[in-house]
Symmetry: C2
Subunit: 239 residues, 2 copies
């Protein structure tokens, strides 16, 4: 007989309970959670068990812990985490902070490859955003972003969209991006690239296809970025 996992540590059940309660809005981003001791009493487990769950949540960047102050629900609106998934930086390693412009938002039916990437039905509706990204006033990337209407109703009302979309998702739709999966390849600029990026046809571009996953495990964004890497590089640090 095929068997189920069966055994679940207590702290991992606490973890899940807290994720659900945060996702449900019981504590909003930036708000402070009850103390370890209070949670322990409330949940009927020891403080050590709560601590282990909170440690795991902090590792997953769902919460921020500060000795002497308390435990806070992570907000993506903080400078350091705002562009957590923006990996383009200057060759010397200094972080580049992007701005946006020339935004176009359309509502249309999903394309089949997008539906596959987002694990959605073939007849879903999506918003498609196309915008140019700038660093130091120079255009460095074109982004095409696809967002399921079902997750982001009335998104077009927020146009022009803010620079940091993930903070918007969190604030307006309660969607917390916790991880991304990207596929990179090199390509060359075509005519539609050259208009927005101001580079000649044939310029090498770094193309990044990204799927973003929310706290509850759903794929909530697909985006394709085409970047001019003549002045910026894409940084990957891994261990």
């Amino acid at each position: 007989m095929d068997s189920a996992p069966q055994y679940r540590p207590l702290y991992s059940q606490v973890y899940e309970t807290l994720v659900k309660r945060i996702a449900a809005g019981e504590w909003k981003p930036g708000e402070v959670l009850p103390s370890e001791q209070a949670l322990a009493v409330q949940l009927g487990v020891s403080q050590g068990t709560v601590r282990k769950a909170l440690d795991a949540l902090a590792l997953d960047k769902v919460i921020d812990r500060h000795q002497g102050k308390g435990t806070y629900v992570a907000e993506l609106t903080q400078e350091r985490s705002l562009f957590r998934f923006f990996r383009l930086s200057r060759p010397d390693g200094k972080r580049a902070v992007p701005t946006s412009g020339d935004e176009i938002i359309k509502r249309r039916r999903i394309k089949s490859f997008e539906a596959k990437a987002l694990e959605l039905a073939d007849d879903a509706e999506v918003f498609e955003i196309v915008r140019t990204r700038f660093v130091d006033e120079h255009p460095i990337a074109i982004e095409r972003i696809v967002l399921p209407v079902q997750y982001y109703p009335d998104l077009d009302r927020h146009s022009p969209l803010p620079n940091a979309l993930y903070a918007l998702y969190q604030r307006e739709y309660g969607i917390n991006i916790v991880s991304t999966h990207e596929k990179l390849r090199a390509d060359i600029a075509r005519r539609d690239d050259t208009r927005r990026l101001g580079v000649p046809v044939g310029t090498p571009l770094l193309q990044i296809e990204r799927v973003a996953v929310s706290m509850n495990g759903k794929r909530v964004e697909w985006r394709l970025s085409r970047c001019d890497t003549s002045t910026l590089v894409y940084d990957v640090t891994s261990s």
Copy 2:
């Protein structure tokens, strides 16, 4: 007055002690460490403190822990970690396993930009390895690897080098690569690329500049890879 860190948790001192002893070869890759209890007695701390240090070491992939068996020094020779830092995969997500060929090893003086990247003196000696990388018999990347002679004496004696260099570093030189920092950009194939990769001049290539860091924090490898991403993509998953 400017102050030093001052306070160091016990478990972090245990962590460092264990790293040093592993690096010194007291326990070799694949060997089992003493039990938590034994280490606790030996180091004069409680089992919980040893556990916290071991948990951190496991997170940093220095050791592998197996319930019921014991704690083992990580070996990079295991399939799953062998190509831990090789991120090219097929578009469907299946991992690609590379092979190597056409290797050339030279010994020369370090170039100044390499010395800067590796934090070495300008007059250091290095080995330069150039090789072609294949997936499914197709050439997909050119690698130029620079290794300081001081860390890898007589490296050329091991020619032809094995497919998985990091396992060689570990086995022959006691150097454990624990993290890498990479800078990616798009470029265009030049004549010397076309010969090894069999692509026409002008083909877009993904260029990856990597610095690898060993367990003791030293930069022990610099490499430049130029990859044909027409059939493979570079994968980045982050959270």
